[in-house]
């Protein structure tokens, strides 16, 4: 059980939502700056736990998603970081790479683009592809070896934006692929109302969904609930969801519905009764 684990992180970096989150009218305001510094400490703790632990960080920006850092493909940037006797080098490389690429991405954002819907689905899909690529060498060989696959992959999503109902179907599809890959999805909701889709994602993949009551203490939440790999979570009392919003979005208007109409052939969901199913006709 003391094996290396892989963590893919998806960070929601919507400028609008982070601005709202840092407003001092909130009971516990959290600026992006202080969030990132706590997040880096969390990343370092993950790497500190085991030398072989791997990390990939994806940023969901308005309208696009970007791989910010991955511990397998850093060779190029590594030389640019100056050595420092007081810091463990992998930590330094990680911190400066992530901060640098977030800064570049945010500066490159056009004013108009900033209002585009957040590329959360893209980031989740990319992280699933990344995990799939990591697990390929072990799954292509014999089943005997598959058992000792060195990975314990999981995805951690930091969300500040509200649900976008048009992305219901792609998110559900990502959840199903995650289930198939045996990937645990953890969700940390930092700001805004509970996310229906992400709650379901965490529930269906056996992860935790956590809505922070005190976003300013995010590091302690992260360490206690999301640092332990799934292997030892059974020994720990990790937070569980007592109620999950299982509502779905309809296929016709992408609205979240309480009561819908379901096609008896293909199980598509509609908010109004329709004579002919638009999915399977």
């Amino acid at each position: 059980m003391d094996k290396a684990s892989h963590l893919s992180v998806v960070i929601d970096l919507s400028p609008t939502q982070w601005h709202l989150c840092s407003q001092s009218s909130n009971p516990y305001p959290l600026t992006l700056q202080s969030f990132l510094s706590q997040l880096l400490a969390f990343f370092n703790s993950h790497i500190a736990c085991k030398d072989e632990n791997t990390l990939a960080v994806f940023g969901a920006f308005p309208g696009k998603s970007v791989l910010l850092y991955s511990s397998t493909t850093i060779a190029a940037e590594e030389h640019s970081v100056n050595a420092d006797a007081n810091t463990y080098r992998p930590f330094k490389v990680l911190d400066s790479t992530i901060m640098g690429s977030i800064r570049n991405q945010l500066e490159a954002l056009e004013l108009l683009e900033a209002e585009a819907p957040i590329g959360l689905v893209g980031a989740i899909t990319k992280s699933l592809c990344y995990i799939n690529r990591l697990t390929i060498p072990s799954s292509s060989t014999t089943p005997a070896e598959e058992k000792q696959a060195p990975l314990d992959p999981r995805i951690l999503i930091f969300s500040v934006s509200p649900d976008q109902s048009p992305s219901y179907i792609p998110i559900m599809n990502s959840i199903f692929s995650a289930q198939k890959l045996k990937v645990t999805i953890d969700v940390c909701k930092i700001y805004g109302p509970d996310s229906v889709f992400l709650q379901q994602a965490a529930h269906l993949t056996g992860g935790s969904y956590l809505h922070l009551n005190r976003p300013d203490a995010v590091l302690q939440y992260l360490t206690m609930s999301f640092l332990p790999p799934p292997g030892i979570r059974q020994l720990l009392s990790v937070p569980t969801q007592d109620k999950i919003d299982f509502r779905a979005a309809c296929f016709c208007h992408k609205k979240i519905v309480d009561i819908g109409f379901v096609c008896s052939v293909c199980l598509s969901i509609f908010c109004n009764p329709v004579p002919v199913c638009s999915t399977c006709r």
């Binding site: 059980m1 003391d2 400490a41 370092n44 703790s45 500190a48 736990c49 085991k50 030398d51 072989e52 590594e78 030389h79 050595a83 420092d84 006797a85 007081n86 810091t87 463990y88 080098r89 992998p90 930590f91 330094k92 911190d95 060989t141 014999t142 005997a144 070896e145 045996k182 645990t184 056996g206 992860g207 590091l219 302690q220 360490t223 206690m224 640092l227 332990p228 790999p229 799934p230 292997g231 030892i232 979570r233 059974q234 020994l235 720990l236 009392s237 990790v238 569980t240």
Partner: protein, 474 residues
């Protein structure tokens, strides 16, 4: 909650897990020593990595808290199934003085807490992660390949010397310091001033995985350091610092200027073991090799690109068939010599050695003190990837037979004692025999020949009894 089906039962696997050998050594140290050791962020980070998974999680949970946590609150962090693992984790942490045990409130050792925080967030001015030397463009440091081949060559010299001392041939000799260490650790011994001979624990040592071998020697080094009046904290601190350094980083080296006198003296020893590379001696800069940088991780400490061009070491090179034939795809003299410990080698090709596991070869290994389990585990870890298709990995017949051969060795048990014969009459014989039976010292008896065999500890009693009886009769 995670579904139980997709993961192994963690409670069961925690019990089997054995903690790292360095932790046991640290637990025997005084609180003062440990607290001084925890003053360096690199030491804290390395020791943290050696802890078990649950212990690491507990430390992490407490790391960012400013105040102490009531014991009852902390106990609520674990589920009922985790209770046992939790208690043993707490006691390990208490023995390491990381989390002093207390009946009411628990908090991390303040030194450890502040230094681990510093290790994770960076900063400070301790320079504990190695001071880089100024980059010299005319004379760049070694590449990773240079370091790997250097470390491999040094390490295999030591092992090859050990393994070939058994059959009387002496290849390249490691330095005197290494020989002394081997002798001190009981892996080799010399009879009456003769040349060094490998001992049975030395044979067992050869079959261990490289990571364990390395730590076994380093622990011995630490014991020796205590006797040589070296400061244990500095020695350990230096080893742990090496483990956090980076291998062949952009061909630059580390500077020796911040090292204490003890640590500078260690450079020479560690160079002999292949943990450190230096261009010339003495030099003001050094480079850790892969042996050093993987001290606290579980990845393979020996580079995969060994002298075999195929890099077979990482993959495994042994194919074992049900007819006891063994094919080893290697040209590495060390691996061949180790195989020769328990295999009868028949023929040798440029990249292949063919042999068979026979009763004689296994008996020879058993006589050297190697156990059947060690042979089997060596074969398992070095099995060729073609073998990994089979389930179980090694042919059951061969495994069983190796174990049976070991049992065969245990067929005869010797015990010292005395044989009592020439009793004058059957009555005399039975009288003494009854007495001996009451004492429960009879090992064997034969009424027809009027003799029995008693164990050593019963002899004085029986002799006294017989003497009293003959004196009474007379």
């Amino acid at each position: 909650m995670p579904s139980a089906s997709s993961h192994d039962d963690p409670a069961a696997s925690t019990d089997e897990q054995t903690s790292h050998s360095l932790l046991a050594f640290l637990q025997s140290q005084s609180q003062n020593t440990l607290t001084r050791l925890y003053q360096r962020p690199s030491s804290c980070l390395s020791i943290f990595r050696l802890l078990g998974p649950l212990e690491r999680q507990l430390v992490m949970n407490l790391l960012w808290l400013e105040s102490a946590i009531p014991v009852s609150t902390m106990a609520a962090w674990v589920t009922r199934e985790g209770r046992k693992a939790y208690n043993s984790s707490l006691s390990t942490l208490a023995q390491l003085h990381i989390l002093p045990s207390s009946a009411t409130k628990l908090a991390l050792n303040p030194t450890f807490k502040s230094c681990l925080r510093q290790a994770i967030t960076g900063g400070g001015s301790s320079g504990s992660f190695g001071v880089p030397a100024r980059y010299d463009s005319s004379n760049p440091g070694p590449s990773t390949e240079t370091l790997d081949s250097y470390a491999l060559e040094r390490w295999e010299t030591i092992l090859y010397y050990m393994v070939s001392s058994g059959n009387g041939q002496y290849p390249a000799k490691p330095s005197d310091a290494v020989l002394f260490l081997l002798k001190r650790s009981g892996l080799m011994t010399s009879f009456r001033g003769a040349a060094l001979q490998i001992t049975s624990s030395g044979f067992q040592f050869l079959l261990h995985p490289p990571h364990e071998q390395l730590w076994e020697l380093l622990l011995q080094y630490l014991h020796m350091a205590e006797e040589r009046q070296m400061d244990l904290v500095e020695v350990l601190g230096f080893l742990l610092m090496l483990s956090t350094m980076e291998l062949g980083r952009a061909r630059s080296e580390y500077s020796t200027e911040n090292l204490s006198a003890t640590q500078a003296a260690m450079l020479e020893d560690l160079r002999d073991y292949g943990l450190i590379w230096q261009r010339n001696v003495p030099s003001d800069r050094f480079c850790p090799t892969r042996l050093a940088t993987t001290l606290t991780s579980s990845s393979n400490p020996l580079p995969t690109s060994s002298s075999t061009s195929t890099g077979s070491q990482a993959q495994g090179f042994i194919v074992l068939e049900t007819n006891y034939r063994l094919y080893a795809y290697t040209d590495n003299p060390l691996q061949i010599a180790v195989l020769n410990l328990f295999v009868t080698l028949k023929s040798r090709f440029p990249n292949l050695v063919i042999g068979a596991i026979t009763r004689e070869s296994v008996k020879k290994a058993l006589a050297n003190g190697i156990t059947a389990e060690q042979i089997i585990s060596y074969l398992t870890t070095h099995a060729h990837h073609q073998m990994r298709r089979h389930k179980p990995l090694l042919p059951v017949t061969v495994q069983d037979q190796i174990r049976l051969w070991e049992l065969e060795k245990n067929r005869v048990k010797s015990q010292e004692g005395y044989l009592y014969t020439a009793f004058a009459s059957q009555a005399d014989y039975e009288y003494v025999l009854n007495y001996a039976k009451q004492l429960d010292v009879v090992l064997w008896e034969s009424p027809s020949r009027r003799c029995f065999f008693g164990s050593l500890e019963g002899h004085s009693n029986i002799r006294g009894f017989i003497e009293r009886r003959t004196a009474g009769n007379a």
